[in-house]
């Protein structure tokens, strides 16, 4: 029955000739583990293509969507694993490729009649590297986009056609949407097509000429390839696949920060290009293309002509030359790769930027998990995050006068602080500082301002000077503590334990005992104009209005304002405002420490 089926299939598609071509392969000198490099390489490539196709079904190549679609893929264990396999298989591929090439070089597999196998194989080198170059930026990460930006400029620095090729590749003047679509087209179609054609030639030539025997002869005892060599191939492949899968599962493909013009560049090439990166350092300006283009081409050229060269060399010199190339190549490559790694490890600024981008990458991922990515793209996630933008905006617009210094001394400190420390604004302890005679004249409050000898300071000092005993002072302190809690309650920053009785008591003390409402408005008590409104003190809207216009009657009208500018006194949207609504909101939310934080992970989860 089965036999009839086979016959009928054979009659229609003649499959046996193909199967027999494989079955009839032989391995001169017996099956060998080192010969597995070729098969392993081929099947790793197939894994890359297959995982690639799966990823394609969910990936979108544009500046706004690429990072978002990658984040989406990572949401399922299958997507994450596929992406991880794709990423680590690519790294393995490059290593395997060069191991395979070295093996063929050492055994002299390039000699006649196998020159075309060698040549097609060598032509695959720039193609596989181009495959990697086109693939990295597709994640839409800052690292990937910086890489293609710099690589584009390197191409542009090639004399004659450089700039034309660069402009076509990146799709215009700047890296952007067209760059991603161009890279994508190259990565998923054009390069696979070219690699496929070369591989077809490569493999059909191998079938035609057979495998090279040991000791440079084709006449050793020929053992059938199938299944002896095949099983060794499959074992090596299985080990490699396990390695790739483990790396995919535990190390994970990179989750870098999304590309954004606001971020510092993180421009290091991938590890396999570090040697060229280092080589480039020794050539200045317009001669750099010698390091990035000429030298690699020369090495490729030397390898290409090995079959020709070999004809004129004796066996010993040929072996010497080949071993020399491999040894010198490995040592030079290793050294040139290690140097920038070592240098960066000791470069404090580089490490700082690297850490900062790592933190931002994690933050972007967390925000995407929570909010999803808006239509403007992943960069908008960080642009709208108070935790990320607050310090940047504060430093630029507030930080020349206001410190934002934490108790341990870290934080933002202007060279000449002339305004209160805003760290912890609205919290009970921060407010209490204004009510303490020593703290209020200190550097964290009015000490460096024109109010250091103003009415508020005088009033607070008076409370304590007029106290008759230590008990009295203790009572005053307790009452002021409660007032601080009341005002923090206005800011929505009082602890939950504050009860209505305490609030009522404190309000009573404010109005009667300490006469705060003689100058400050608070609810229905007091008037505006002589001191800042304490209604809703340090709440989100209070702070927004204060930053917009501190000169308003509600805050510090006329001469009461020491020197704080009005950052948005006109309607929001007006070009005359220094800050936009969003910028002020980001600063305020950051000052009030109100930003999204994920719940701490209690159980193991990926």
């Amino acid at each position: 029955m089965l036999e009839k089926l086979r016959e009928s299939l054979e009659r229609r598609i003649a499959y046996r000739q193909w199967w027999n071509a494989y079955r009839q392969r032989t391995v001169p000198g017996g099956a060998a583990w080192t010969r597995a490099s070729a098969s392993c390489l081929l099947w790793t490539l197939v894994v890359l293509v297959v995982t690639g196709v799966f990823l394609m079904s969910s990936y979108s190549p544009s500046m706004t969507d690429s990072w978002a679609s990658v984040h989406y893929i990572e949401q399922s264990w299958a997507g994450s694993l596929l992406r991880g396999i794709h990423y680590f298989a690519a790294q393995f591929l490059i290593v395997l490729f060069f191991l395979h090439m070295m093996r063929v070089l050492i055994v002299g597999g390039y000699r006649a009649p196998r020159e075309l196998i060698w040549i097609t194989g060598l032509l695959l080198v720039p193609l596989v590297l181009a495959w990697a170059i086109t693939g990295n930026p597709l994640s839409g990460s800052q690292k990937g986009m910086s890489q293609i930006e710099v690589e584009g400029h390197i191409i542009a620095s090639t004399p004659l056609l450089g700039r034309t090729i660069q402009t076509i590749l990146i799709g215009g003047d700047r890296v952007g949407n067209l760059t991603l679509t161009h890279l994508y087209t190259l990565h998923v179609f054009i390069l696979p097509l070219l690699v496929g054609v070369l591989l077809f030639l490569h493999i059909s030539q191998i079938y035609r000429h057979g495998l090279l025997g040991p000791e440079n002869s084709d006449e050793s005892e020929a053992v059938p390839y199938w299944p002896d060599q095949t099983v060794r191939n499959m074992i090596v492949l299985a080990v490699v696949m396990i390695g790739i899968a483990l790396a995919a599962r535990w190390l994970k493909a990179p989750r870098d920060v999304p590309a954004s013009p606001e971020l510092p560049g993180m421009p290091r090439p991938e590890w396999y290009f570090l040697s060229l990166f280092e080589l480039r350092r020794y050539f200045s300006g317009e001669w750099e293309f010698i390091a990035t283009l000429v030298i690699p081409l020369l090495i490729l050229g030397l390898l290409l002509v090995m079959p020709l060269l070999d004809r004129w060399l004796t066996h010993r010199i040929s072996v010497f030359l080949r071993s020399g190339i491999v040894v010198v190549g490995l040592v030079a490559w290793g050294g040139l790769t290690a140097m920038p790694i070592w240098r960066d490890r000791h470069d404090e600024q580089y490490q700082q930027t690297h850490r900062k981008l790592e933190v931002l990458g994690e933050r972007a991922w967390v925000l995407a998990d929570r909010y999803g990515v808006p239509p403007e793209g992943a960069a908008a996630l960080l642009a709208r995050d108070p935790k990320t933008q607050g310090p940047v905006l504060f430093k630029l617009y507030c930080g020349s006068c206001h410190p934002h210094a934490e108790p341990d001394g870290t934080g933002i400190m202007p060279t000449e602080p002339t305004a209160p420390n805003l760290y912890g604004i609205g919290t009970p302890d921060w407010i209490a500082g204004f009510l303490d005679p020593e703290r209020i004249t200190g550097p964290h409050y009015f000490g460096n301002t024109a109010k250091a000898d103003g009415e508020m300071v005088g009033t607070v000092q008076e409370w304590f000077e007029n106290a008759e005993s230590d008990d009295d002072r203790a009572r005053i302190r307790k009452q002021l503590q409660e007032i601080a809690l009341l005002l923090a309650h206005e800011a929505n920053k009082a602890p939950q334990t504050v009860d209505d009785k305490l609030l009522a008591r404190a309000k009573q003390a404010m109005v009667d005992e300490f006469a705060c409402t003689d100058c400050h408005r608070f609810g229905e008590e007091g008037e505006l104009g002589s001191a800042p409104d304490l209604t809703g003190y340090a709440s989100r809207s209070w702070l927004i209005e204060m930053i917009r216009n501190p000169n308003a009657e509600r805050f510090y009208p006329d001469d009461a304002n020491d020197r704080m500018p009005a950052f948005a006194p006109h309607e929001f949207g007006s070009a005359q405002n220094q800050l936009t609504r969003r910028q002020i909101e980001l600063i305020v939310d950051w000052l009030r420490q109100e930003w999204y934080e994920p719940a701490p992970e209690s159980a193991e989860s990926q």
Binding site: H153, T164, G172, G285, E286, E288, L396, P569
Partner: protein, 190 residues
Amino acid sequence: MNRRTMLKWASSLLALFSGILVAVPGCSFVLAVLRRRGGQDALVQRVLRLEDLPPGEPVEVPIVGRKRDAWTVYDQQTIGRVWLVRRSKADVPPEKSKVDAYSAICPHLACIVGLDQEDRRFRCPCHEAAFDLSGRRVPASELGHPNPSPRDLDPLKCAVVHDADEDAWWVEVTYQRFRAGARRRIPESV
């Protein structure tokens, strides 16, 4: 020329015709980017209030503008970065204050040049091009390796202007972009 030869010629020419029908728009499509050179030459922008610029301390500011990226138009995007250095002391009146502006785009391969606080110089993280606080290239002898940058940092026109409505003094920069990797300063569209 007999009938068969003519038919062979006709086949080839007709095939060629079909091929050209696709190849011509194809080539034009790919090469179109070479022609499309839009964008403005310079963007004048008020980047910072003079009072927010401490004397002698370089401050990096973004240049914000409308950006077109193929099919997407961004209203307000950071399209450039500038280093500002206030040369005049704090007591010099604003109308006489001098501020220098330098494009933070590295003339080497267009990375963003940062500030090395320790060595008091501008430093590019990509390939370690370095410039003093006046934008001049640090020579290789001081640097320890060839300075990759083909020219000094690109200076930008910078003026301190007064906003009458708000009675405030602003630093106004004329932002331009120049070709990376060139020894001469070749302006490109912003």
